[in-house]
């Protein structure tokens, strides 16, 4: 009986938040989703597949209703890992990564569907974490369009400047390009800066 009551009232009074990881392909969204999972649920297995091949995530993956507790702030968070958004997809790009032509064509079809679903999902989120690769210039059309759309929807947004473990990372360029949006530098791979990101989420969400 006690267990039923515990389950029923576990999250009563705790605010529910949908936090979405969005951005271009291969910026480290899934690596960050897996870190959230390990840090807040204690699970060792990955929630999202990670690969150097672009568009590895072709479906929206959710880590549902976990206790996001940072300091005194506690939220009931559903984290949504979305497929990377690109303007166009060419199956020949996948063949460069060793996929056969048939596999590459299938991957291109799956990735296309994934992008369309990611875009549809943008309207439903409470907080968007726009994940960028700090080693790439931040002037791409996808990031500009995403940030503009989130701003026009009044969606709370944090830019996650990922891959700071790489020597050519340039977080200052991202900060100067988007001075009106909070930027949090992290390495999802080694965990550096992730605690600061959690603090920012707790403050904003």
């Amino acid at each position: 009986m006690a267990t039923i009551f515990e389950k029923l009232f576990k999250n009563s009074g705790t605010k529910e938040r949908q936090i979405c990881l969005v951005g271009e392909p291969n910026t480290g969204k899934s690596t960050l989703a897996n870190r959230f999972s390990r840090d807040f649920t204690g699970k060792k297995e990955d929630v999202s597949p990670v690969s150097p091949i672009p568009h590895e995530t072709v479906e929206i993956t959710k880590l549902e209703h976990f206790d996001f507790q940072v300091g005194k702030k506690k939220l009931d968070v559903t984290l949504v890992d979305t497929p990377g958004i690109a303007q166009s997809i060419d199956y020949r790009e996948f063949m460069k990564h060793g996929l056969t032509q048939n596999e590459a064509i299938q991957r291109a079809k799956d990735a296309t569907g994934g992008i369309i679903n990611s875009i549809k999902y943008l309207k439903e989120v409470d907080l968007a974490l726009v994940v960028m690769d700090s080693t790439r210039p931040p002037f791409d059309q996808v990031s500009l369009t995403l940030l503009g759309t989130l701003e026009s929807h009044n969606t709370k947004t944090i830019i996650v400047a990922n891959k700071t473990d790489l020597t050519d990372a340039n977080v200052e360029l991202i900060k100067s390009t988007f001075p009106h949006i909070p930027v949090c530098p992290i390495s999802a791979l080694n965990g550096k800066g992730v605690e600061d990101l959690y603090q920012q989420i707790a403050a904003i969400a």
Binding site: S88, D90, T145
Partner: protein
């Protein structure tokens, strides 16, 4: 691939949806467009989505787009005026838009052949 220049005047009577269809029809027809127009982020996202939706049924794979702001200066006897005009370059997803060191943009196909430079 052929480059087509679309002035703001030519598209002034089209609403958002008609404009997006106008672009998609031409780009799917293997045209490169240079269009004088400022798009909202929602229009750009809509264009991206519809371009990719087409990609699922046709051989083309989305639409590549680059926004090119251009400043024009006019000088008069009393004062000079600076106006910013927004141009957008659209190309089929089977191609690539690269910015060159001199600031120009070129549209290349997969084999490296340059089809247009603006």
């Amino acid at each position: 691939m052929m480059l087509e220049f679309i002035t703001a005047r030519k598209i002034k009577n089209l609403d958002s949806s008609e404009l997006i269809d106008f672009i998609i029809d031409r780009v799917m027809d293997d045209k490169i467009l240079l269009m004088e127009k400022t798009f909202t982020p929602e229009e750009k996202l809509d264009l991206l989505t519809k371009g990719l939706t087409n990609a699922q049924t046709k051989t083309s794979k989305g639409i590549n787009m680059v926004q090119i702001p251009i400043e024009t200066k006019t000088s008069g006897k009393l004062r000079s005026k600076t106006t910013q005009i927004q141009f957008n370059l659209f190309a089929p997803g089977t191609s690539q838009i690269d910015q060159q060191e001199d600031g120009h943009y070129c549209v290349k196909s997969w084999d490296g052949k340059i089809h247009a430079t603006v």
